[in-house]
């Protein structure tokens, strides 16, 4: 990177918030994906004004700018593959406003999801999208990939809660959206930014809709001797007019991985459904009874609990599936490939069966779990990452998995985004995306090479050497 740019960055941001050592650049080159690349410099802005000046400078010199929150992205969104300026947004971590009576809050992008909910809980409110990484991820990152999680079936995804954004585009700082719950006053560019993965602009402030916390929650854990029966159970719950606050599925590989890694008490089964109902006490009781009736004939066993400790344990087990798979077998680790496809709800059992067939064909292990209630599945590919042949096999398997997904009427990503790892399977018209990108970012400085711009093999910039 040109010295002139570095000198100017020191004029914008104090030196204790600029990192240039090789060790720091190396550490910042990872997110939670299979990719790694080093930025040229890391800058940690404290204000919208600083971000604006940095982006302006980068645009002037045509240098890439990549925003990053906690680095929990699973598809390489925060990996600076062409170097450039990496913006560590965690320095902008203020909760600026909480307006309970108006149902919104205003936050900076570096606020940790769990901390926002801690603050809102004091008022009996919450920000409902519940990503598995919620204890550590940032709101900015959630918006950038339109994150959601297990409660999306009832509460929706991050996009449904973004009322307004302040965004720094290469040409300047702008605002879209409002503090009102309804908005029909022009292009809703704030919604376009949700899921844009930093390829258009940098989010510097977000106005988010909030919801009252439910009075009570209860959980049912149903075990099945056949994954198809579990899938039928899901379809029956939805068709029965139920709207649980979570409806999760785990296949046998995932059940075993969690039991092994986390010592959590789960039944031995081919598939588990974890179903949460929330609301007023009476509604919860009624909901759980109705679900019990629906699943009665299909499930082998059903456990109900409203005990906080057991519910926390069960959710801990569910959230821990992803990393626990890393401990599933000797010499095998869980790598983030084909990680969050969405299919029509009724197609889930077919998808899981097909994924297992593909895994067998290529001699790899694929664990499947996810948000069955909204059709969003997660698969994890387990391979020995030190063997190049394994990556080749995995890439082929991933291609076949996505072929099945699209044949079933699904899409490549429900909540993790595209980045590099899912770039060949991006959804929608590429030319339109390119036109939008060019209009906003003509010099292609905003997180270049991601999403529709990545045209090569996904086994690239591997973090595993």
């Amino acid at each position: 990177m040109e010295q002139a740019i570095i000198d100017k960055l020191y004029e914008i941001v104090s030196k204790d918030r600029i990192f240039t050592s090789k060790a720091d650049l190396y550490a910042y080159g990872f997110d939670a994906s299979i990719h790694h690349a080093m930025p040229s410099i890391v800058v940690k802005p404290k204000s919208s004004e600083e971000v604006e000046e940095i982006v302006k400078l980068a645009n002037e010199y045509s240098v890439p700018v990549i925003a990053r929150g906690a680095g929990t992205a699973l598809c390489g969104q925060a990996v600076p593959i062409y170097g450039g300026i990496l913006l560590d947004m965690t320095g902008m971590d203020k909760i600026k406003e909480i307006r309970i009576e108006d149902l919104y809050c205003v936050v900076e992008p570096g606020v940790i999801y769990a901390k926002l909910n801690e603050a809102l809980a004091e008022y009996g409110f919450f920000f409902p999208p519940t990503p598995g990484s919620g204890d550590v991820c940032t709101i900015g990152g959630m918006i950038a990939v339109n994150a959601s999680g297990m409660r999306a079936i009832k509460y929706g995804a991050t996009r449904d809660y973004v009322l307004g954004l302040e965004i720094v585009f290469p040409y300047g700082r702008v605002r879209f959206g409002s503090k009102t719950l309804k908005n029909s006053a022009g292009y809703q560019v704030e919604r376009l930014i949700v899921g844009s993965e930093g390829t258009l602009g940098i989010i510097t402030e977000a106005t988010l809709r909030i919801s009252p916390l439910p009075e009570k929650r209860a959980v049912a854990l149903a075990s099945f001797n056949d994954v198809v029966k579990a899938g039928e159970g899901v379809a029956a719950i939805i068709a029965g007019g139920m709207l649980p606050s979570a409806l999760e599925i785990m296949d046998k590989v995932c059940i075993e991985a969690v039991k092994k890694a986390m010592s959590i008490d789960l039944p031995d089964a081919e598939a588990l459904l974890l179903i949460e109902v929330d609301g007023k006490a009476g509604e919860v009781k009624e909901g759980i009874e109705k679900i019990a009736k629906i699943l009665e004939e299909k499930a082998d066993k059903i456990e109900f609990t409203d005990d906080e400790g057991r519910m926390t344990e069960l959710w801990k087990g569910r959230k821990g599936v992803l990393p626990s798979l890393s401990r599933y077998g000797e010499d095998m680790v869980s790598v983030s490939l084909a990680d969050d496809m969405s299919v029509p709800i009724s197609k889930i059992p077919y998808a899981i069966k097909e994924f297992q067939n593909i895994a067998r064909k290529y001699g790899i292990i694929v664990g499947t779990y996810g948000h069955a209630g909204d059709g969003n599945l997660h698969t994890k590919v387990l391979i020995n990452p030190k063997n190049v042949e394994n990556w080749k096999k995995a890439e082929k398997a991933v291609g076949e998995i996505y072929k099945v997904v699209y044949e079933l009427g699904g899409i490549a990503s429900g909540e993790h985004g595209i980045g590099i790892t899912k770039a060949p399977w991006i959804n929608g018209d590429i030319e339109t995306m390119e036109r939008i990108k060019k209009a906003i970012d003509p010099n292609n400085i905003m997180n270049p090479g991601k999403m529709d711009q990545w045209k090569k093999s996904i086994i690239a910039y591997l973090r595993y050497k």
């Binding site: 050592s21 060790a23 720091d24 190396y26 890694a261 990393p323």
Partner: protein, 323 residues
């Protein structure tokens, strides 16, 4: 050494859950301040993508090895072991670590102080550097009150030196091997870990085994689990049992296996005083809110925490209240 942990590092999914407990502090300002960053830097050093320099050394040394982050890691990565193995392969040393290493070699005491020795019977108390500085008189008085003619051996166990990745001599081990020891007692978990082959007892375990009585008071005491006494040695209950016999035992919100460290490990706080201060003040604040005196069971913890708040070590608590 680090090569042994190659697969362990690859098993890290990079999920970042290890950052959770760090969010309580202001000092983690960049990726390499978090456990994930250190694991990745270890990987870079292992693969040769990263060359060792002082910044890499600083990142790898800025960790107490307390293991709290491992409790949040769903992949069960042995984070502290990976970091320790990385340190073993480092060539460069932080200036503060050079100082304690020099003291260790020259004086057999990482603080560069005179070690204390006392001849006595077959009950042996290993003093260690921090206990020697903070609690020497308390130890002598306690054994007097217990009516035990204790043998006291001073010197550095070498554990802080091992923690920074340097090899130690077996001077103390040889000294202990030459003695007839009925029971080896220590007040410092560092020593218990370094000299683990001698099956030592923590002072709280030893005193409990004697069945002594204590004077009771109405004070609130909040017990701070030392990471090394707790997570490493599995000793959680004995100090609590003693506290309960003396006063009211309160707990930190995160305690036992989930306890937060205090930043008191000497090699850490010498190199990173500001970080160590912030970590200590986090515990002090909670203790104040609960209107309680912190009880430590490690001389490292005591000598650090006492700088910032109301603290008593289990040695003092026993010595003051034994009947």
């Amino acid at each position: 050494m680090l090569e042994k942990y190659h697969d362990e590092i690859l098993s890290c999914t990079g999920c970042g859950f290890c950052k959770k407990s760090y969010y309580a502090y202001k000092f983690p300002q960049k990726e390499s301040d978090f456990p994930k960053g250190k694991i990745m830097i270890s990987y870079g050093l292992l693969t040769g993508e990263l060359e060792e320099d002082m910044e890499a050394v600083k990142a790898i040394q800025k960790c107490t090895l307390c293991g709290r982050c491992e409790e949040d890691c769903p992949s069960l990565i042995k984070i502290a072991d990976v970091i320790k193995a990385t340190r073993n392969d480092l060539q460069l040393m932080l200036p503060e670590h050079e100082k304690i290493f020099h003291n260790f070699k020259e004086k057999g005491n990482i603080l560069g102080e005179e070690n204390f020795f006392k001849k006595g019977g077959s009950i042996v108390f290993f003093m260690g550097c921090l206990t020697n500085r903070e609690m020497k008189d308390v130890v002598i008085s306690l054994f007097d009150k217990l009516g035990i003619d204790v043998t006291i051996i001073g010197g550095c166990c070498g554990y802080p030196i091992e923690k920074i990745g340097r090899k130690t001599e077996d001077k103390i081990k040889k000294e202990l091997e030459e003695r007839e020891i009925e029971k080896l007692v220590m007040a410092c978990p560092n020593g218990m870990l370094a000299l683990s082959e001698f099956s030592s007892l923590h002072i709280s375990q030893f005193v409990l085994s004697l069945g002594v009585d204590f004077r009771r008071n109405d004070k609130n005491y909040i017990y701070h689990d030392s990471a090394f006494l707790g997570r490493y040695l599995g000793i959680y209950e004995e100090p609590r049992q003693i506290i309960k016999r003396i006063g009211n035992l309160l707990e930190f919100d995160e305690n036992g296996k989930m306890a937060r460290q205090c930043g008191g490990e000497i090699e850490f706080r010498m190199a990173f005083p500001d970080e160590a201060k912030e970590i200590a003040e986090y515990l002090i604040k909670e203790a104040k809110e609960k209107n309680a005196t912190i009880v430590t069971a490690s001389s490292h913890c005591y000598s650090h925490l006492k700088e910032y708040g109301d603290v008593i070590d289990i040695l003092q608590l026993i010595e003051e209240n034994i009947k």
